[in-house]
């Protein structure tokens, strides 16, 4: 079975990536010109306090020992305590990571659902008005600055039309007064598990505007890539052969040409998913979304190194897993991929 061997090989490579990033994160922590003991000891620490923190953090042990301690802590999910808030980082991640993942998955799905079919249809009508309009929209959605689009959507949908909430992950009535029991951390899933359709609808409404904002860029890129890949594929002889067999235009476009053209779109979707994990800081701030991007950007400003390290590791793992999924998807769509 080629495909199973292929997946196993990918998984081994992914493991190497994770180990490499662990090493990198550790190295950076040593090189950065700030004393973790001083930061850990709190504001305006005395010399004894710093010395005590140094012992507590085990900073005097030799580097290899400390790397092993660090790596095994990362592997077991023991991310330590934030220097700044003194909270357990693992607890923070349990709150922030699902919020960000929910947004990233949802916006990636939107990007796929809009970008790919539009690219297919534009390619089928190459050079005509539909193609021109779709291509222009794609350029616009790529070029539009995120913060501007976010505010534009807020202005139109919550200010003028009043059909969408302005910001937040839920309304106050759901979020504070009557919170949904947290099982997975994904509000959409948890509210369904709790059998509360109203809370589900509320969470969904809150999700739409930030997800649309975040989907804008990848949707535009996916559209352009799908379009150009489709134009190339539609010239191929097997498409002419399919037409000669009398297959319908729809069947040819989506059943025969699209599977050949999915590669580039899948790649860009994988990359934009990774970007959505931490690069969505602006979107998270504008929509008051309690996500990872905001969490880590605050940590960076406070030189809160354990948080930065934890988020880096978590994002790396998410990214590696996403890439693995994309690779497997590529191999499932095109079995020849697994042969190389």
């Amino acid at each position: 079975m080629n495909i199973i061997r292929y997946i196993l090989r990918r998984m081994v490579l992914s493991a190497f990536v994770v180990v490499g990033v662990t090493f990198l994160v550790f190295t950076v922590a040593q090189v950065v010109p700030s004393d973790p003991a001083a930061l850990y000891a709190g504001p305006r620490p005395s010399a004894e306090q710093i010395a005590k923190a140094r012992v507590e953090l085990n900073l005097d042990a030799p580097l290899p020992t400390r790397f092993l301690t660090f790596a095994s802590a990362m592997a077991t999910g023991d991310f330590g305590v934030s220097y700044k808030s003194r909270r357990l980082i693992l607890e923070d991640l349990k709150a922030y990571l699902p919020a960000t993942l929910e947004l990233a998955v949802f916006s990636t799905a939107i990007a796929l659902l809009f970008g790919v079919p539009l690219g297919v249809m534009a390619a089928a009508r190459q050079g005509r008005w539909f193609d021109r309009l779709a291509s222009l929209s794609a350029i616009a959605s790529v070029a539009m600055p995120t913060f501007f689009l976010a505010m534009l959507l807020q202005l139109i949908f919550s200010q003028w039309l009043g059909v969408m909430p302005l910001s937040g992950r839920t309304s106050r009535e759901v979020g504070i007064t009557d919170p949904v029991a947290q099982v997975t951390g994904f509000l959409l899933i948890d509210s369904l598990l709790a059998g509360r359709p109203a809370a589900f609808g509320n969470a969904m409404l809150h999700l739409i505007l930030p997800a649309l904002t975040l989907a804008s860029y990848p949707a535009g890129v996916a559209m352009r890539l799908t379009r150009s890949a489709m134009i190339e594929i539609l010239q191929r002889r097997h498409i002419t052969a399919a037409r000669a067999l009398g297959l319908s235009q729809r069947r040819i476009l989506f059943g025969h040409a699209l599977p050949n053209a999915m590669g580039p779109a899948l790649t860009v979707i994988g990359l934009s998913f990774a970007f959505a994990l931490t690069g969505a800081v602006l979107v998270e701030i504008i929509f008051a979304w309690p996500g990872l991007g905001r969490y880590v950007s605050e940590a960076i400003l406070a030189k809160d190194f354990p948080v930065i390290a934890a988020v880096t590791m978590v994002v790396t793992i998410c990214y590696v897993v996403m890439n693995l999924i994309i690779d497997v998807a590529q191999a499932l769509v095109d079995p020849r991929v697994a042969l190389t």
């Binding site: 052969a241 009398g246 599977p259 095109d334 079995p335």
Partner: protein, 284 residues
Amino acid sequence: MPLLEIRGLSITIPTPKGDVRAVRAVDLSVERGEIHGVIGESGSGKTITGTAMLGLLPQGTKVEAERFHFDGEDLRQSADRLRGNRIGLISQDPAAALNPVLRIWRQMDDVLRLHRKAPRAERWAEAVALLASIGLNDPEKVLRSYPHELSGGMLQRVVIAQALATGADFLIADEPTTALDVAVAMQVLELLRQLVATRGLTVLLITHDMDVIAEVCDRVTVLYHGRSLENGPAEQVLQRPEHPYTRALLAALPDAAPRGERLATVEGLFIDPETGALLQGDQP
């Protein structure tokens, strides 16, 4: 009445650099149940004539003809309906003619579903029977394979099976053996001849290969620069060609050349730009 009747066909393709007249004056008449060869060098308009019969030319292409009829119907109006129902295509390179990312079953079933509303198991049985009937061993395994897992000869049989599944009685075979090695090519030609005999098919065989014509064709039409120059029974055209171009073409076969001498080429012929006639001599 011939099954396919083409008189005075001309095809003009618009390009950014101006119109290209790919076909100027083609006459072609194919009787039911024959294998009719169309022979010519690259650019003679043979493939584009076939594409026009399927109605698959690029948009904006002008197709003009005195007669362009298949079984009494004008192909300019009805090609879209006849294609995939009565007219099928077997194209040059079977590896390129099949979708690389879909299993053979999907590609067979796409055709079967169009024509019969039968449950999946029945369609599967039908596909198996069809593949077996054209000489594929282990058809179930073939159906479960992707194109890159099969050989060229097997793929060409699959392509032929697809065309048969449409129920077509007229096949346009565009260089069906060019991409295959000689032994497999002969098998495929033999299969075509069998199908003509057993299923009453009619085949238009487009080729540049004199051996293919000699092997299977009943009649043959010679194309050159978008014109049909000569037609007749294959034997007659090959043995006693009337047109100087056909003579030159036959003389250019490597087999015909005496040992130790340079190979002959088709020279000393040109098209008169005014009248369109083919003249002998050097281009003025």
